[in-house]
């Protein structure tokens, strides 16, 4: 008997390390984001189709099931956004001369700052 020994991974490889589970959760949140985007596109189409169609659609969305679905989609989207912003300083480092801008600052400058600003502008537009 001679030769190398090859070890393989199980189908449930993502259970091997907590970080792999976190990765799978992050990937799964994309599904909810995509689903929410489809709902949003339908909503825009209904709005485009006229006031009656929009009202009917909004009425349909006001059921408990849809509210729960929206809450889940919101939670998934927020989590996806947090993980995305966490990756921004790694993927897009900013240098000032020879110094790299520290990750917490880069996250605010390129992630949370613009996010909060745009959200505030939208809220102001909607609520005013």
């Amino acid at each position: 008997m001679s030769g190398q020994y090859h070890r393989s991974h199980s189908r449930a490889w993502f259970m091997e390390r907590p970080a792999y589970i976190r990765f799978m959760i992050r990937e799964l949140t994309s599904f909810f984001m995509a689903a929410y985007l489809i709902v949003l596109i339908i909503t825009l189409a209904k709005v485009g189709a006229g006031e009656a169609a929009a009202a009917e659609w909004l009425q349909a969305l006001s059921t408990t099931g849809w509210k729960v679905a929206h809450a889940v989609a919101l939670a998934a989207t927020v989590w996806h956004t947090i993980t995305f912003f966490a990756a921004v300083p790694q993927a897009m480092p900013i240098y000032i001369g020879e110094d790299r801008v520290p990750a917490p600052i880069a996250k605010i400058v390129m992630g949370y700052g613009p996010w909060v600003t745009v959200t505030a502008i939208i809220l102001w537009g909607v609520l005013r």
Binding site: M1, Q4, Y5, W13, E16, A19, Q90, P93, Y95
Partner: protein, 256 residues
């Protein structure tokens, strides 16, 4: 703590001449809080069982040869202190995602080939003769790639990466970070040539950004970050080739 304290090491054993399957063997080792896992394995080899096979050299986190799985985590065993595990047993295995040669030693050949694939050297169109002096570089230009040049080829990142574990052809974290290191070097002109290799699906697009490579890296190379940056460079390169098929790219390799 009394002098006669011991700690148990469970070592992965596999001798290809005699074993068809690996097994674990337990050893009682004197516990010393200044000892690292590598000291304990060396003690076993010196005083208990000379057939135990493992790799090591510098004992100070520089050579990158002592990487093993310690309780399931890829670690440099010369930097993994027994006191962080005591009094519980420590399970030591060869790095996962590599074929096992013998006991704790893995086959590095595929890894070395992948390092070569990314052309890890400076490529120039115009090679100055020495009378013109060195290629000068400012501290700011050095800062762009210095982090990615700190790799010690310990392969811990390959053991942490699920893509490496599932796709043999995936170039993997250290090789891609090394390619990126040269792409970011202001003296280099070989980005297009290098991206030729790095742009293939088995190369950097295989990376799904799990990010564990950067977590386990003992030298803070951040291969995950390097790969995401390389993807952005690759996308730009692809776009340039698309709009300017002939003149392709701002940078050009010497061999191109």
């Amino acid at each position: 703590m009394p002098d006669n304290e011991t700690i148990t090491l469970e070592l992965f054993r596999y001798h290809p001449e005699t074993d068809s399957e690996p097994r674990f063997q337990s050893y009682e080792v004197p516990y010393d809080e200044d000892w690292v896992v590598l000291d304990a394995i060396n003690w076993i080899k010196d005083y208990v069982d000379g057939s135990v096979t493992h790799r090591w050299s510098c004992r100070m986190g520089v050579c990158g040869s002592c990487g093993m799985m310690v309780n399931g985590e890829p670690k440099l065993t010369c930097a993994a202190f027994l006191k962080n595990y005591y009094p519980f047993p420590i399970k030591v295995e060869p790095l996962v995602n590599f074929p096992v040669e013998r006991d704790l030693v893995v086959d590095m050949e595929g890894f070395m080939d992948k390092l070569q694939d990314v052309k890890p050297y400076i490529i120039r169109d115009d090679v100055n003769d020495t009378s013109q002096g060195e290629y000068r570089q400012s501290p700011a230009e050095l800062a762009q790639y210095k982090q990615y040049s700190m790799c010690i080829n310990c392969m811990l990142c390959y053991a942490a990466c699920p893509v490496v574990g599932h796709e043999d052809e995936f170039l993997g974290p250290a090789a891609l970070a090394l390619g990126h290191r040269y792409n970011k070097d202001s003296r280099d002109q070989g980005q297009s040539e290098r991206l030729e290799v790095m742009l293939s699906s088995e190369a950097m697009w295989g990376c799904t950004f799990v990010g564990e490579c950067s977590v386990v890296c003992p030298k803070h190379v951040d291969p995950a970050g390097a790969i995401q940056q390389a993807k952005a460079m690759g996308a730009q390169e692809y776009f340039k080739r698309f709009v300017m098929p002939k003149g392709a790219g701002a940078t050009k390799g010497a061999g191109a």
